[in-house]
Symmetry: C3
Subunit: 152 residues, 3 copies
């Protein structure tokens, strides 16, 4: 069994089903040993977390949406790579929060994804990032995150 798979079991994490792209694009794209993962949202099967953080949703709900977005990214990575052990390191993420006017605690929201990546990959999950507030996200999803990973 893969080391990352065993770690997910240990954490009690079951990955969601892979969310299909919502247009004419790929979920991720490889360039040499660099993997670009496009924008993912907080989706688990048919359930999608929508709403504006700081308005419809609390900071805590935003945090959980960012964590779910991270799980959705991991599901795409597992499908693409076959085995999450092929990930050498998470390099960077760009975190976008669907904000109600005046809500600017976006770093605390995107920590939901960052915390997950460090839980799963340890030091190899530590990354740089931006965490900012967007006017609108596709279909009103609460969070959208894209990511760059380095493969072994």
């Amino acid at each position: 069994m893969s080391r990352t798979g065993a770690r997910l079991d240990e954490l009690g994490i079951v990955l969601p089903t892979v969310f299909p792209p919502a247009g004419n694009y790929l979920g991720c794209s490889q360039l040499g040993s660099t993997l670009y993962v496009g924008g993912h949202g907080p989706a688990n099967g048919d359930e999608i977390v929508v709403g504006k953080v700081g308005g419809d949703l609390s900071l805590e709900e935003g945090y959980r949406a960012a964590r779910l977005t991270g799980l959705s990214i991991l599901a795409t990575l597992e499908q693409e790579l076959g085995d999450l052990d092929r990930i050498g390191r998470i390099v960077k993420l760009f975190g976008m929060v669907n904000v109600a006017p005046g809500f600017n605690r976006t770093p605390a929201v995107i920590d939901g994804c960052s915390d997950l990546l460090v839980e799963v990959f340890g030091d190899a999950g530590r990354h740089t990032r931006s965490a900012v507030g967007l006017a609108e996200l596709p279909f009103g999803i609460a969070v959208e995150i894209e990511l760059i990973a380095q493969l072994h």
Copy 2:
């Protein structure tokens, strides 16, 4: 004649003139065999498509603006590379839509650029991306897109 040039002819596409950067920056920047194209807008000579999609502009007008933005990117690439055949693959794009409040069908807008890239480059044009709604774009342009391409 270049293969991509022939394909553009076949599609009846004439590239717009290269739009000059609107500040102290370059239209694109090469890093090894990776080409970063900075933010481009829907410009064709002096004509620039401005307005908020879902307000001033319909979804269909937004889609056409995204297609024109893709053409503007291709014009910059042709100038930079001399020949579009040097593009091995489109890796990723980041698509930004100037949205009216409440408009969140941003993936359907950015498909205007994604569809163009697949028409022109075939499978090599398939990429990952984000497609999100921005509060404001430079000079009120309807769409802004930046892109990463891999060179042969």
Copy 3:
């Protein structure tokens, strides 16, 4: 003494203290000879420039905030690399302006950072970029910029 250090002296520039990440992430992350710098804001010690450009802040104040953001990025780079001479070239930046509704002269704001990079690094500081208007930025900062640099 480092060439870049001498150039900073010549320009009368004193770098601010390194701003600590505002969540579970790193200030920058290296991938081979590519360095990704995450989102930085206009911070100098305890002083942080907050407000919406085009509302609370003028274009000129936004420009100075973007310059200060560039200085904050240089401080992080110096800490990470030990010597700024290790930077071969600035490749790209993504510039985000915290905008009041209707303010779209975002390229003129982000020029504050672009101009700085060219002053410090000369031609090696010339980069591609996007410069766009965000709904909200962390803690209400006026500008946030992330950057990609190539190392020697």
